[in-house]
Amino acid sequence: MKKILFFLLLIIVSSLQCQEKLEREYRIKSTEAPNKALDFIDKLNLPKKVKWYIETSNDGKTFEAKTCFENHLFSVEFSEKGILIDVEMKTSFSKIEASVKEKITKTFKDRFDKYRIKKTQFQYRGLQKELTKLFVKYYNNTIEVDVFYEIVVKGKKDKNYELYEFLFDAKGDLVKSLKFAIPNSDNLQF
């Protein structure tokens, strides 16, 4: 019995540690998006064009509205029923608060022999009313939202380079990490 429990624990821990990120994203017409999601985006009166996508990943199927606002790429994610999940803003790693950045950097240094940050996104979660404020003034400390940092890293471990996606909370504690499947680039080389 103990052995079975041990193996079960081992499987759970290893699956939590680093799952493989499986994701597929494809463009759709705005009319295919849920009405609730469309209403939310319409009310924002965004100055630039909004592109709609469906994303299927380890977490299920979601709808995403992508646009450029205040020189940042924004991605607003909705559930299948059009309920707002989060808002992501592409930025640079240097924009993260110094103490948090230090903690995140330590995580990377502990995990990899060598690493390079490929992409940083601020992920905002909270009440719809609060998230709307992000599009009034794109960043304001008075907005009551939970901030997470989604970081894509190219990391070298045991002489092998892999691509990972990390999610850290506002304090810089690791929430989740996923390993990417390396995309095939044969057609660009041969």
């Binding site: 994203e25 092998n160 892999e162 044969d186 660009l188 080389q189 041969f190």
Partner: protein, 217 residues
């Protein structure tokens, strides 16, 4: 629409150049089969044929067959060094080519870009060895979403400069690609080649290319 405009532009540019120069056109089908040997090494083999629809004598003719074998060594997933050999059968002649490539592929938000620097040595009996350098820039843009997923189309645009220490050649390659499955993809498009650039005896070739990439992993 964008794809169509690119093709139209390529045709337009080439038509301007064909007016006062030698012009060949034909088919260039190619099959590329790759097999992962280890985490860092890939073995790539390809077969390519060249058939003229319209050659210098305005005739339909078979031109050549290329058989190649490459060992690709990845330094990481963005960079690799390729070492290869091409055996070319052209009429009754056999040409041996050895080459070394350095590749750098990077993924931007929705565009993938690739640089390739190459050195080639051509060996043929009773002829002096020819050395050639090449640089190629390629861009890949998915037509749906930010990445090319299965059963999705993409656009691939390439530009290559070839210099054999006597003259310069330029290649422009707009392709439309389709990811058939996780293991194979197919590309259709044009391969426009402008040769004898410096000698002012311009040679134009326009190939209709089809390439099928198969991964045996």
């Amino acid at each position: 629409m964008k794809t169509f405009c690119c093709f139209l532009l390529s045709f337009y540019c080439s038509n301007l150049l064909f007016a006062q120069s030698n012009f060949n056109t034909g088919f260039l089908p190619k099959i590329v089969v790759s097999k992962k040997l280890s985490n860092k090494n890939i073995w790539v083999n390809s077969l390519e044929s060249r058939t003229f629809i319209l050659d210098d004598n305005n005739e339909f003719s078979h031109s050549l067959v290329d058989i190649s074998s490459i060992i690709s060594i990845k330094t990481d997933f963005e960079q690799s060094f390729n070492f290869g050999y091409i055996l070319r059968f052209r009429d009754d002649k056999t040409i041996h080519r050895i080459f070394q490539h350095y590749n750098f592929v990077s993924q931007l938000t929705s565009i993938k870009i690739a640089h390739r620097i190459a050195f080639e040595q051509f060996y043929q009996s009773k002829r002096q060895t020819i050395f050639r350098t090449r640089y190629r820039f390629t861009l890949e843009k998915p037509l749906s979403g930010e990445r090319v997923d299965i059963k999705e189309f993409y656009l691939k645009l390439g530009n290559e400069l070839l210099y054999d220490f006597t003259d310069l050649k330029i290649r422009i390659t707009p392709y439309l690609g389709y990811q058939i499955s996780k293991k194979d993809r197919i590309e259709f498009g044009l391969d426009y080649r402008l040769g004898e650039f410096i000698k002012n005896n311009t040679q134009n070739d326009l190939w209709f290319r089809t390439t099928w990439y198969i991964s045996l992993n």
